[in-house]
């Protein structure tokens, strides 16, 4: 899908420690998300490319649950252009 995770509204928090560790709180749009594996790997791989990052921890959280109201305006437009009603 032509939308990034931030605009999709699934990134709840990102914290950076002094020791090069980055922690991400992330949710999925559905508990049975078939792309969960790819998403987790992409997040880790992308953050590890940032200078000074040497460890990434991703916490999958389900509270609060994701709804389409969490999408940004840009995210909504991108999905509509792609043909998804949101």
């Amino acid at each position: 899908m032509p939308i990034n995770l931030v605009d999709l509204g699934v990134i709840y928090d990102i914290r950076q420690g002094d020791d090069g560790m980055v922690e991400v709180d992330l949710t999925f749009t559905a508990m049975g998300c078939p792309a969960s594996d790819f998403i987790l790997e992409d997040v880790r791989e992308r953050l590890m490319r940032e200078p000074g990052v040497n460890e990434v921890r991703v916490n999958v959280v389900w509270d609060p649950p994701w709804t389409s109201a969490r999408m940004t305006e840009q995210g909504r437009e991108a999905l509509e252009e792609w043909g998804l009603a949101v």
Partner: protein, 314 residues
């Protein structure tokens, strides 16, 4: 109904055909045949993938496998639904045909026994599907099918990604995992090359091309497949029996083994020392492979069991 010349003119002008009223009986027959091959291929991939998806190494991986199977069933439904609009009985097509009369590639009759083989199927077979359907999506003269494929192409990308991501991961793991991956590639690569059918030198005339049901020849499609699969395998450190050459300033992918050659389906082994004729390949395809009955029974049996029980109860 148009005359053959009128239909020909319409196809040449690039116009889309929208209903049976605009077809000749010959066009309708060829369109149905092409749709049956497509529907059967998508449908049979579901049981074939399911047997291997059960061996997924994690819940997340299993969910991805199951989602792919769900997509494949939906893609099959698009083809059968169009066939129904063209006067065929969808239920009969799926549930009442003899297993041997299904028109899917031989590769699906050879069982996928492990998660590794499943992800190679996602990387190779779904890439073959992507090339074939991508060409139809691009060129097909029948409007409803061309439009139906918009979403199919997006979903096939997801299957490819599963295949490629896992192949890379398994290769990077090294050791016995990587050996298992190489063994899977060794038997699945030549089967995928065969998928595209007779070489152009033996197939002088194609009604599908004439009616613009597709746009590329068998060899063009095969080259397209090789141009995506070979570099990727080389990049992740997996050996494949093909290489690139430059002929008349153009890149051409050449196979490093006689094509076609002998395949032992039970042992999943190719004999590169044993070239065979295309007649022998066609005979093997007609005979179908080791799991044809079982694959078809997986979706036919319960339908008939349910019908029988339902009938008794009512």
């Amino acid at each position: 109904m148009p005359t053959a010349a009128e239909l020909d003119q319409m196809i040449k002008s690039g116009e889309l055909i929208e209903s049976p009223k605009e077809m000749t009986p010959e066009y309708l027959r060829e369109l149905k045949h092409t749709l049956i091959v497509s529907g059967d291929t998508e449908l049979i991939s579901a049981p074939a993938y399911y047997l291997a998806a059960k061996r997924a190494p994690s819940i997340n991986a299993f969910m991805t496998g199951i989602a792919i199977i769900q997509d494949e069933l939906a893609h099959a439904h698009i083809a059968y639904h169009i066939l129904e609009e063209l006067g065929e009985d969808q239920e009969k097509l799926i549930f009442s045909r003899d297993p041997k009369s299904f028109r899917y590639p031989y590769a699906f009759d050879v069982p996928l026994d492990t998660w590794t083989e499943l992800v190679v199927a996602n990387g190779f077979y779904d890439q073959a599907g992507f090339c074939l359907l991508g060409d139809i999506h691009d060129k097909c003269s029948y409007g409803p099918w061309k439009r139906g494929l918009n979403k199919v192409m997006l979903e096939e990308n997801f299957h490819l990604r599963n295949g490629r991501t896992w192949m890379k991961r398994i290769s990077a793991a090294g050791g016995t995992a990587r050996d298992e991956l190489q063994r899977a590639v060794d038997w699945m690569f030549p089967l995928s090359v065969e998928w595209f059918g007779l070489p152009d030198t033996m197939k002088m005339h194609s009604t599908q091309l004439e009616y613009r049901l597709k746009g590329l020849t068998n060899d063009q499609l095969r080259q397209w497949w090789l141009s995506t699969v070979v570099p990727y395998c080389e990049q992740i450190g997996v050996k494949v029996p093909a290489h690139k050459e430059t002929k008349d300033g153009k890149d051409v992918w050449e196979l490093d083994y006689p094509f076609p050659c002998e395949f032992d389906a039970e042992n999943k082994r190719w004999d590169f020392q044993q070239p065979i004729t295309w007649d022998a390949v066609l005979a093997r395809w007609r005979e179908r492979g080791p799991r044809n009955d079982e694959m078809v029974a997986m979706f036919q049996e319960e339908f008939h069991n349910f019908r029988k029980t339902h009938h008794r109860d009512s």
